[in-house]
Symmetry: C2
Subunit: 341 residues, 2 copies
């Protein structure tokens, strides 16, 4: 069915000749063809227009031939659908003018009908699947409930997310109510995405690493586990918790098909902390793509040697940076595709 199923085989833990490769944010600002679309359409227009989202999704595949595509979208379409206004301000990032900071603020927040609010995502998936023509699998994604809460409460990006954590620590009942609503919405959303055609899903817990191990269990992992359980037997789930090395042991027992790791966690530490059996994904430092291409190639080879070619998906340890030269990204992909030759 899918001609290049390397990615799906790695998720199942099968033996492969070389590991599959894709890059977080591979449809992004480092690509000139992406920038051309970005000049014409604002952020949410790109997300909400299936023609644009599907085109952006396949751009990096045409250029580099990764082993998986990931649907162009944003984690903040979820709060939008839940009746929380989200703007994307140029040179600033996400801005939520009416953040959720009390039980009263929470009253307006709904668990929406997915197809009525996020039908455009399903259209984008169908259109992308047509463009991909079963050559490679398509990944769908969502933010972790904790990461979504961070934005809903803080109202914007932050170094410490002090207001988000403050809500959890001073009004835990409100925080848990919000987290459960986000979780219920996310589960329904991901199930619809699978119905629409995605072959696997990834949960991005971008801000999980801001919590202590004890608080992580309570405010983040508890909800991610609900999502994994709901997707069981439906589609493979990859969980990427940036800075969440301390929770890898628990994550490995969760039923997830693979775990993402960032570059601060060495291959050896990641294999040790996860018990050596689960598929891992990562963990090239995105800034290391600023090294000369020849160095990138030798570092990628070392990384594959360290993780081992099986039960491994080559990726960055976080999203690709906008200032990466296209030939450096090519060196990264090519080094994986020629591994072992």
């Amino acid at each position: 069915m899918i001609k290049n199923d390397l990615f799906l085989r790695a998720l199942k833990g099968e033996t492969v000749n070389r590991p599959p490769v894709w890059m977080m944010r591979q449809a992004g600002r480092y690509l000139p063809e992406f920038m051309a679309i970005r000049e014409k359409y604002d952020f949410f227009t790109r997300c909400q227009t299936p023609e644009l989202a599907s085109e952006i999704t396949v751009q990096p595949i045409r250029r580099y031939g990764m082993d998986a595509a990931i649907l162009f979208s944003d984690i903040l379409v979820i709060p939008q659908a839940m009746n929380i206004e989200v703007e994307m301000k140029p040179n600033f990032g996400p801005f939520l003018p009416q953040p959720i900071r009390s039980a009263k603020d929470l009253e307006k927040v709904i668990v929406p009908d997915i197809n009525a609010t996020l039908g455009y995502v399903m259209e984008a998936i169908k259109m992308t699947k047509e463009k991909l023509n079963d050559e490679i699998p398509l990944i769908g994604f969502a933010g972790s409930p904790w990461t979504i809460l961070c934005y809903c409460v803080q109202g914007q990006g932050s170094k410490s997310f002090d207001l988000a954590k403050g809500l959890c620590f001073s009004q835990p009942i409100v925080a848990h109510d919000l987290l459960q609503k986000i979780t219920d919405t996310t589960i329904a959303y991901l199930l619809e995405k699978v119905k629409a055609g995605v072959n696997a899903v990834q949960i991005f817990d971008s801000w999980g690493g801001m919590l202590s191990p004890v608080d992580y269990q309570e405010f983040s992992w508890h909800y991610i586990q609900q999502i994994i359980d709901a997707l069981k037997g439906v589609a493979p789930v990859i969980v990427f918790g940036k800075g969440c090395w301390f929770a890898l042991g628990e994550m490995a027992k969760s039923g997830a098909s693979a775990l993402g790791v960032d570059w601060t966690c060495s291959a050896q530490n990641a294999r040790y902390l996860t018990g050596g059996k689960i598929t891992l994904q990562g963990n090239f430092d995105p800034a290391r793509l600023l090294s000369p291409p020849s160095e990138i190639k030798s570092m990628v080879k070392q990384m594959i040697d360290a993780f081992g070619k099986d039960r491994y998906i080559v990726n960055l340890g976080h999203g690709i940076l906008p200032n990466i030269p296209v030939e450096n990204a090519k060196a990264f992909i090519d080094a994986v595709k020629t591994y072992g030759e």
Copy 2:
């Protein structure tokens, strides 16, 4: 000599009745008496005026009675002394209008005469020592060379410090030249601080956790080790590397007297990773000071139980946040001072 020497005894690993306590950024914006001074004088005026710096340093001691004071200053006085302009912009943070991004930019950077450029710090230390009247020890500090480089190259704060890492990875010779100049300056600076009267020093590696373990050794740890070696037999050194759990094993063998840990590294992990013998400092999540005071007290007790009362200095896992109520900070300090009663 120093009446309350609990902090110095913990640094030596001696048995104590309760661990000492201080808080990173304890002279900070959560204190109304600090805000009163802040309204009248700008940032570098406060740093450069010994009367103000010493007054700000002792403010939290008067209010709470911590077991150590830390001189009010900033890590960026070092690049200033090295002929790199540093501004502190309100509601923005540090701004360096002429960042160092090439060998040519590096030409103007000097290893300065410390007393000619940073004599005001030594005056502030002497004045603070008078005010402290040998009641408690005084800590001096510096940023790690890597952390200072981050600002010198990026020119401002950043989520990824992509330009700083880009310099290291694409022009490593320039990066190492800059790091060595910062290291030489920092060593001379800390030796002068000890001469002026500080009883211990802390190195803040705030951005070490942005590097992979291999890059950390090359671009950060190599230079911190030089500082530790230069201070050997002169004063106890505490190294705090935020997010640097992966390097704790190496750090424990360095000759440092104590290691700071952040809240993502549990007491159990921190003791395990450091071999169980070195004094540890930390690691209360600063945002957890937003919990009710009664909860703070029970969490502090649990934390001391987990680290053990010996070879331990109670602290936060990073600087105190500006929005912490003064009674919550009091609950934190009081919980330590009444531990075991």
